[in-house]
Each structure stands twice: as structure tokens, then as C-alpha cells.
Symmetry: C2
Subunit: 167 residues, 2 copies
DNA sequence: CTCCTATGCGTGCATATACACGCATATAAC
DNA sequence: GTTATATGCGTGTATATGCACGCATAGGAG
């Protein structure tokens, strides 16, 4: 019986028990949801989600960039970024920018966008502090290594029906 | 300059460079997206996403349960689970079940649901193997600790405007 | 029985994520 | 110059996520 959630022990009926899953993916997704809530709560008074803050900060450091370039920076699917940018543009935090290549659509921070980042930054810093306090410097470092290891798995997954059922 | 993505070093222009972000939340979200792709790719031949497989496996272990109880098991927002269940029901993998409490809606695996789990399990196992190979047993264990630490942060966030701007 | 409270459920709304497509343009090949 | 290829973009479709609400019922207080 390979589980998927609660690893061992008994079912205590009510208490969530806070046991990690045996599935690394489920664990990572749960961790992601939990930490996202911490940051989103912190940034709420600035009217931003952490995903939006991430986009804005990157824009503030890169100046005018194409959508694809920004997506690469954020390690985000380009089409996902297109949607994420839409709400930021509607909110007036991001504006269009010229580009040499006419296929490209340049985007950059608006004045309001810069103000939003300035207002949100201390809240983000506070969330960072909370997390480091919780995970420890080592935990934060391990997390960085985790990302690098996992993002390096792209492409050559090779989990075909053959590799599972035949041999 | 607190970054948010690429920590130090130079911008090489094209190579993604695979540097972790300085933001733990961004790192965790990136890791989550990456690992989800590994599992989703593995489960694709079984026609399931890892999120769906997770629901089905939990159902297969719990038998008939209420939506709320299942949400607690999965550490998922109840309303999120309601939507996730919808597609599984439409696919005929999950069916309704009776319940003593008439407020509750019982759900359980259908025969097709059990078959889907049986078909998907080896693929999931293979994905687990891939991940353990990549992260090492230690990495997988640290990941489990990470989840527990982060899910324990619920509630008392206390990142108010005061705690940041005033004091 | 009636009222209050706790619990379970589903929906509206907003955002995030990614794959499959199709459109447009820049570039290289001839 | 025309054709083929590569690159950049946005949309349709499907799923995931969670908050704010409102509805309904179970259980206890009176």
C-alpha cells in the first residue's frame, strides 16, 4: 500500500495531524500553498499578490522588456505571464513600451507600478523574515537548492508506458 | 536592492542561468510548478493530473467520506475540492454516497475510479523514483519537514501595516 | 417547539498555470 | 524577391486555488 498522504500512524479522527505526504509532489504543492498564503497576507495591505509583486519587482529591475524575456526571467510559461500582466495593466501598474523588433511587445513599470513596489517592499521583507525565522537560514538555503535541482529535470522525463509496464 | 529573483552575478543575456530567487515564496512556487510537471507527465498516459490522482488515492483509502473530511485530509480548501471533484465526477471516476448527516455529501470511488488508480499507480511510483533519484533520500526528507514547518504557520501571521511602518 | 449556533455545502469572483493553436513578423536560404 | 524557418504573441480551453457569501440542516438551550 503506497499511501499518497498521511505516511504512517493512526487516524486520530479530528486533528489534521500535520503529517507530510509520502508524495513529494503533494508535499511541495502543499508547501507552496502554505507559503503563498503567508506572503499574500503580508502583501494584502499593499493590494498585491506575491505573484504580482514578483512580476513588478522584476520589471523594476529590468526596465522595458519583451513579454517572452520577462517570462524567461520569471521561469514562467509565457502564456501564463500574458494573463498575469493583463490584470496589472488594467490596474495601471504596468504599461506598454516600444521595441525594435515589431513582433515584440515591450512592457515596463508605470509610475503607479513603481509606487506599488515601494509600498509593498517592506511587507515582502517582513514575510521573508518570518519565513527565515521559521525555516532557519539552512532551510532557506536548502529550498534554493531544491528549485535548482527540480528545474533541471525539464524535458527528459522518460516515464513512458513501456518503462513502467513492459520491463 | 533586495532582488526577488536572480540573486547575484551577471546577466548572461540568454541562458536562464537557473539561479534561485532570493524570495522563498517564489522559489517554492517555481519548485512546485517544476515537480508538478514531472508527475503530470508521468500520469498523462493514465489520463490524470497529479492533483486528481491525489484525490482518488485518498478516496481509495478512506472509502466513503464527506467533502469536508476529504478536504481536511488533503489539506485543501474545501471549496477548491468541490471544483476538483466536479471534473472527476463528470469523468465518472467519483460517485456520490449516502451519509447519516443530511448536510453532508458523501463521495467515493467508482469502479472506473478504482481502475484509474490501479492504472496510474505504477506511473506515480516511477515519478517518485525519478524525484528521489534527483533529490536524494535526504532531500525528500527535508521536503517533508518543510511542509510541516510551513503549514504550522497558519493564522498568526501578524504582518500588519503597524508592525512594518510604525515600529 | 423555537431560537441560536455550529457545521457542511456550493457558487460568484478573481487569479494562477499551462498546453494547443493560429497569426504575424524577422531571418536565413536560394 | 520568394520561400522556409524561427521567434514573439495572444486566445481558447481546462484545471487549480481560495475568499466572501448565502443556504440548509444538526444539535443544544429555553
Amino acid at each position: 500500500m503506497d499511501a499518497m498522504t498521511q505516511a504512517p500512524s493512526v487516524r486520530t479522527k479530528k486533528r489534521p495531524t500535520d503529517q507530510p505526504s509520502v508524495c513529494s509532489c503533494v508535499n511541495l504543492r502543499r508547501a507552496s500553498r502554505a507559503i503563498t498564503k503567508v506572503y499574500d497576507d503580508a502583501l494584502q495591505s499593499a493590494g498585491l499578490k506575491v505573484t504580482q509583486y514578483s512580476v513588478l519587482v522584476n520589471l523594476s529591475r529590468s526596465g522595458s522588456v519583451s513579454v517572452s524575456a520577462l517570462a524567461r526571467m520569471l521561469r514562467l510559461d509565457r502564456t501564463t505571464l500574458v494573463r498575469n500582466l493583463k490584470s496589472l495593466e488594467q490596474a495601471g501598474l504596468v504599461e506598454g513600451a516600444a521595441s525594435s523588433d515589431s513582433r515584440e511587445r515591450g512592457v515596463s513599470l508605470s509610475e503607479a507600478g513603481r509606487a506599488a513596489v515601494a509600498q509593498a517592499r517592506p511587507r515582502w521583507t517582513e514575510a521573508q523574515r518570518l519565513i527565515e525565522q521559521r525555516l532557519g537560514v539552512d532551510g532557506v538555503r536548502q529550498l534554493g537548492e531544491l528549485v535548482v535541482a527540480l528545474e533541471g529535470m525539464a524535458g527528459q522525463d522518460a516515464v513512458t508506458a513501456d518503462s513502467v509496464e513492459s520491463e
